[in-house]
């Protein structure tokens, strides 16, 4: 499958970009690393054409929301390509490895200090989005890039303008789950510890556990991302 996609696209010129590598594949499409004639690195996010037509109205949100945001912590929308057989977005390329790659390829163990740094920076990005009315809805380890202390959030495929149907607290729940991946990087499982929940297994203070429980809606959640930020900074500073 990959081999096929690779031989089909790598080295090919799409619009004014030349494709270098395949960097990711999801349900809705494929992401390529590419460069322009003046050597600017970009990501081409190609949609499966059928999927795009089926979801055209939904896909508009990714384009409109990215068009309305401008911040170095999220990729800019640089263009839209519609050539025969290739429909996709051109996105600013962001450096870094995804947290998923760091965890499961590099087997990186995140120190408390790193968790504090990544957590507070990611919360800063969520704050920027929420203050602009955007709920991301897909804050997961493959969508967060980390590069020498810089954190970037990508993949606005599920992002929406927040309203009753799309409340901001969806992002708190994903944030809680995301943070747990970082905490588990230093957890050594013993065979017998299977099936216990994180609040039994992890060595966290009661306050820290309560914070995560509130994010994950095991307890009534926070009112705003500003509250989430204040509590996180207080409880996880090291």
């Amino acid at each position: 499958m990959f081999a096929k996609i690779k031989t089909k696209y790598v080295g090919k010129k799409i619009s004014s970009y030349t494709i270098d590598t395949l960097i990711g594949q999801g349900r809705y499409g494929i992401c390529f690393l590419a460069h322009s004639d003046d050597n600017q690195k970009v990501v081409l996010k190609k949609f499966k054409t059928k999927m795009f037509i089926k979801n055209a109205k939904k896909n508009e949100f990714e384009a409109v929301i990215l068009s309305q945001l401008q911040d170095k912590r999220i990729p800019q929308l640089l263009g839209v390509i519609n050539e025969k057989g290739f429909y996709g977005f051109v996105l600013e390329f962001k450096y870094g490895l995804t947290i998923k790659e760091l965890l499961f390829k590099k087997h990186h163990k995140f120190s408390d200090k790193e968790i504090y740094e990544i957590g507070s920076k990611l919360i800063g990005i969520i704050k920027y989005l929420h203050h602009n009315g955007v709920v991301h809805r897909d804050i997961r380890i493959p969508n967060v890039l980390y590069d020498h202390g810089d954190v970037t959030l990508v993949d606005f495929g599920l992002a929406r303008w927040s309203n009753n149907q799309y409340p901001f607290d969806m992002d708190y729940s994903y944030l809680g789950d995301f943070l747990l991946y970082l905490f588990y990087s230093t957890f050594e499982s013993t065979k017998r510890s299977k099936k216990k929940p994180w609040y039994v297994e992890l060595d966290l203070t009661d306050d820290q556990k309560q914070f995560l429980k509130k994010l994950l809606r095991l307890e009534p959640t926070y009112d705003s991302i500003d509250d989430v930020e204040a509590i996180f900074l207080k409880l996880f500073k090291c």
């Binding site: 590598t21 309305q68 839209v80 493959p142 810089d150 729940s173 588990y184």
Partner: protein
Amino acid sequence: MSSFSRSSRGRNYKSGNHGSSHYKKKGLFGDLFEGFGSGSGRRNHNNQNVYETQNLPRNQQAVTNQPINNQNTIVCSSCNSQIPTGSKFCLQCGQKVNISPFCTNCGEKLPPGAKFCLSCGTKVN
């Protein structure tokens, strides 16, 4: 390929009761391919791009997710298809749009520098 579904994607909230058997695994099919091929020739330099932060529509109130379809809809000068309000590009042909600021509440175009939407009164940044 269509048989792969990303189980964790698109769910509104995460389950809060998982433990090591969940967080120590990288996930099933759905996530299997993400980050593929990223090991070589990719990234790991400091990002040197610096962007100025612009004024943005600041709106924490309920906003509609209905595609805004009113008299303000822009028609692409190149291919004549309708461009969703707020998009920097025509989603049909890719033509760049000069976006004028618009109200995220009702979709009305905003005159340059406007502090409030003239149509619904929503505060602009």
